[in-house]
Structure formats: C-alpha cells, structure tokens
Amino acid sequence: MRRLSLAHLWVSFIALFFGAIAGLLQVLVKKGVLHLPNGIGYYQVLTAHGVLLGLVFTTFFIIGFLISGVGRTTGELSASVLRYGWIGFVLMTLGTVLGTIMILLNQATVLYTFYAPLQASPWFYIALALIVVGSWCSGLAIAAQYWKWRKENKGKISPLFSFMAVVTMLLWFVATLGVAITVLFQFIPWSFGWVETINVLLSRTLFWYFGHPLVYFWLMPTYICWYVVIPKIIGGKIFSDALARLAFILLFILSIPVGFHHQLLESGVSPGWKFFQVILTFAVVVPSLMTAFSIFATFEISSRAQGAGGRLSWLKNLPWGDARFFAPMMGMLFFIPAGAGGIINASFQLNQVVHNTLWVTGHFHLSVATSVALTFFGVAYWLVPHLSGRQRTKELNRLGIIQTILWAVGMTFMSGAMHASGLFGAPRRTDYTTYFDHPVAAGWIPYQTAMAIGGALLFIAILIFLYVMIRLAFFAPKGVEEYPIGEVGEGAEKTPAIFENWKLWIAISAVLIVIAYSIPIFEMLQHAPPGSPGYKFW
C-alpha cells in the first residue's frame, strides 16, 4: 500500500514540476520579457501546463491520497485490490508519458480542452484514454476494498474516509463516461482518418458533461481533508458524520448535470435547457455551504473545548504554525472568493461579461490552483513522511508555512490581476500581443506585470514544496508521522444507513442526467449540421 500510494504521489510531483515550469514560461512570455527559443510555441507550453497540472498532477495525487486513506481506515489492502491499483497506475503513467511526448513533438497543441475541429495526433487521444481507463482500475480497487470491509463488518457504518473515497471515484466514473465516449467514438476514429468529419457541438457537450464534475473530482478529496483530517490535526472531533455524508451524496448527484454552464454562449442549445442546468449549478452550492458550516463549527468547538473564550478569540487557538493545518486553512479562505466567482460565471446572462476572458482563468486558479492545491500540499506535508517512515522536522514544517504564504501572496497578485483585466475584456489563452497597438489592449499591460510577479512567486513556492518533499521522502530523520483521521464527536447524531444505499443514489443521479441531457443531445443529433474535417493550425 505504501509503495503504491507513494508511486502515485511521485508522478504527481514530477508533473507539478514540469507544469510549474510551463506556467512560469507563460507569464514571462505574456508579459513580453521572454521569447521562447526556436521551435517551442506558447500554446504548446500552455497545453503542457493544462494537461500536466489539471489532469495529471490532480488525478495521480487524488488516487494516491485516497488509496492511502482507504488502507488506513479499512485495514490492509487485499492482494487483488493492490493488483488493480498497480494496473491502474501503470496505465495512467503510460498515458501520461505518451501524452507528454505528443505535446513535446508539437503533435497535440490543442490545449487540455482539445476542442474539435482542431485535430491532434491520434496518439494524444489514446494517451488520454489510457489515463481514464487506468483511473477506472484504481477506482475499482478502492471500491473492492470498501466492499470487502462492508462484508466483514455487516450492519456497521463504513469509515467516513472510505465512504467519501468511494463517492469520489463513483463521481469520477460517471463523469468520465462522457469524455471516454467522445474520445473513443469521435476523436480517435476521426484523427486516424477512419471517418472524415466530427460533430463539433456533440464533442463539446460530452467534454463539458465531464468537465464540470472534473472540478468536483478535485474538490471532493479536498473536502475529505477538511472533514476528516483537519479535525484530528486541530485536536477536535468531526462535527457530524451524517452531514458530511449528506454533503458528499449531494455533490455526487448535483455536480454532473451542469455542464451547459460552460456552453452558455454557444449556438445549438436552447436557452431553456441552459437555464435548467444553471438551476442545478446553483443547487450544487448547497453542499459547499454545508461544508463551510461544518468545518468552521469544528474549529470553534474544538478551540473552545481547549479553553478559548470570547467571540472571536478562539481563532487564535488554532494551530496556525502547523503546515498541515495552515496550508488547507488558506485554501479554505481562498475558496470564499473562488466560490463567489463561480456563482457569477454560472449566472446565465452575466456569463457574457466574463466568458473566455482572463477572469475565468483567474477563477480556476483560485479554486483548483489554490483551494485544492494548497490542501493537497497540506496533505503531502504529513502523508509523504508517513509513507516514507520519516519525521516532519520543525525546519521542514517552517518551510511549509513559508511556501503557503508565498503561494497565497503570489496567487493574490496573479489571480487578482487576471480577474481585473478579464473584466476589462482581456481574453484568456493568448500569447504576447498588443492587438496591433490597440489602446484598449495597452490598458491590460500593468495587469500582465502583476501576473508575472505573482507567477514568479508561485514558481518559487513550488520549488520549496518539491525540496521539502524530497527531504521528507529520502533525507529527513527516520521516525513515525501520524496519519490523522478524525473521530466523530460524542454528541453527534447516529448516521442513517440510507447513505450507503448506492443503488438509490446512482438511480437518482442517472435520472437527473437523463432529464438534463437527453432532449438537448437528441436535438443536437436531429438538427446536426454537416460535420467538420480536422485542422492543424499550429
């Protein structure tokens, strides 16, 4: 189990390193202070950044984290579970290597969203398919371990961590069906030339059917840390096991049928269906509100139990000097503006003001690249030494605090500048440009400077993080680092067994997906224009 989990973490850290280099290059090129040497394109680097950080870093880290936690809460992983886990790891790693090679060869400069009819090499799409299929094997491994525990512990409520891990992988499975269908049945035959054209709108719709729950696939492991791990670190108890499970079930049910809020400004989908999915998008805010309440209740209750008084002075009692707490806590605070920005983006007509501007890039650098990333860093600060059998020394903990502060400051600069210039119309995903010295574009230049400063700070933060990881994995003194798993408070309600009625939740999810997508997709197929041939515009 240790080796399997560590193997995932290392691939994720390597992806983080190269993705961060790509990110640094981008802000410098965009600012106009750097020209990439011959043969390397801005958009090629941008594709690498998106694929390595958005898809590879997150997916490997999440699976490594979930496998370790499932092992920690349900006992030794069985041999067959380990086998599935390793098969998944090998397939995903093969996919990552193949995909990276295609990007480096400039055969796949289509960005990580790979919108048709830009056409990459078929091997790029095969690489993506390998990553998805590999992650399914890992999901199977996690589910199999959970079922084994249920069988051996009839009538008992499963450990909260394992329950949440299974919901996360179930969401991932249902969501990736969309991207798997479009890659296997549209992109691969089309890029090999077996069919001449592709239905562009259908491919986009299937992509975004996957693209939004992808965000929740990043967020749910983050919430696992906040719900299950953080209470133990601050010396408190889990506020409510039942509410935590309810939040996860709601996230699973509501986060899939919402992809149209990424397609609000496009033709071919009627406004009524767009609005219906906007309503569901707003509904998925509720479990996040529940999460915010639970977590801050845990903070206050545990702080008061340790003797803190006063209306707000309990805040001082929290372990601000502990990187395991401080990094995720910063992530939580950044999630407040990130969530508010998300509601703005999904607000139907209002989307017109920000769609495809740098505002959107700023938004997901707050949500995934800060709330999620800082939480993952916080997890890594104890998970890596736990797995490697070493100590998290005072010095390394202090570096973790510094790294978190650098990240928060760097991201405030970068994301703040992105949000602001996006409101003034600066588009996302552009190489260095003045738009033929247009005065409007000239107004965006100061923000590009702020983005470059922020990006440089973030890069330094990543280097510190990776340095700490290498120390924790190979050089720190031998020792035992605790795997913090919170316990449920004594006064908490008994957890109803209905939460583990998987058939019910899958059925509700399926019904909602069918309602939200069947008619629009039917219309898309019924009134489909002739398809598009592939273009290689890079």
Binding site: L118, R204, E266, F348, Q352, T357, H527, G531, F537
Partner: protein, 156 residues
C-alpha cells in the same frame, strides 16, 4: 436528521440567496428576453463562402441607424475587418466559422459569443458611445489566436 439552529439559519439564508439570484436571472431571461446567444440555425461548415449571407460578408443597413453585420471568422481574422459604425447604431451580428471554433468578443461591451463551425451565432448590440473598439477572438484557434482581432470605429 437533526440540524443545529445556527446551521439551519445558515442554510436557509444561503439557500434563499441562491433562490433570489435565480429569480433575478429567470426574470431577466424569460420575462425580459435576455437570453445568452443560443441560435439554432445550421450551415455546412465546408461551404461557408458559397452560402448566403456569408458569400458577401459586410455591414448592411437595414433600417434607420440599424445594421446587419455579416461576418466570417476564420483562422486568424474576422471578415470584414476595420468596421465603421455610426454612433447609436443598432447592429445585428450574424457570424459563423469557416474552420475551427472561435470566440467573438468586443472588449468593454457585452458582445461575447462562441462561433462554432456548423452553427450561426447571432447577437444584437447598440453602440451608444463613440470610440475605437477592439474586437478579438477569445477561444483558442491555433498559433495565431492572439493576432485575431480588428478595430471597430464608432463615429459621431
């Protein structure tokens, strides 16, 4: 399942706020007709240049200070380019793509829509303020994406 008093208040206030937001959006959309661009008309993306009205892109006057602007988005330019519009003019954009997906945005206005091959995108905007506007592509379309833009001059 039991909810604590403060939690109930928190969720009710949060839920009510979301419902209020949706109500505002819904009234805007269904009572006042402010929908995002959602045209359903299709076109063969490989024969854009042969299909009316895109065989003759350009600005056409259709009423008193009211115009139709027929545009083709193509890597890496909008056609027509350098458009002149009288101030106060109501302009109906009719746009399609001759190749990949583009995005049509005019900075500092609410003009913003996807241009998907195979579909026609429409939007209406009234240029009340004179000035030099920047129209640009805001969806990655290839190596020249950042050069895809043009000026719109709104003259007194």
């Amino acid at each position: 399942m039991h909810l604590y008093k403060y939690e109930k208040i928190w969720l009710i206030v949060g839920g009510a706020t979301l419902a209020l937001f949706l109500l505002v959006l819904g009234i805007g959309a269904f009572a006042m007709g402010q929908h995002p661009p959602s045209d359903t008309e299709t076109i063969d993306p490989q024969y854009v240049r042969e299909t009316a009205p895109f065989d003759q892109p350009g600005l056409k006057q259709i009423g008193e200070n009211e115009y139709e602007l027929v545009m083709v988005a193509q890597a890496f330019a909008f056609q027509p380019a350098d458009i002149q519009i009288p101030a106060g003019a109501k302009v109906h954009f009719i746009v399609t793509s001759a190749d990949v997906i583009h995005g049509l945005e005019i900075a500092n206005t609410n003009v913003n829509m996807m241009v998907t091959p195979g579909y026609i995108s429409r939007m209406t905007y009234t240029f009340n303020d004179p000035g030099e506007y920047l129209m640009l592509c805001n969806e990655y379309c290839g190596v020249g994406h950042h050069l895809m833009g043009t000026r719109i001059e709104v003259a007194e």
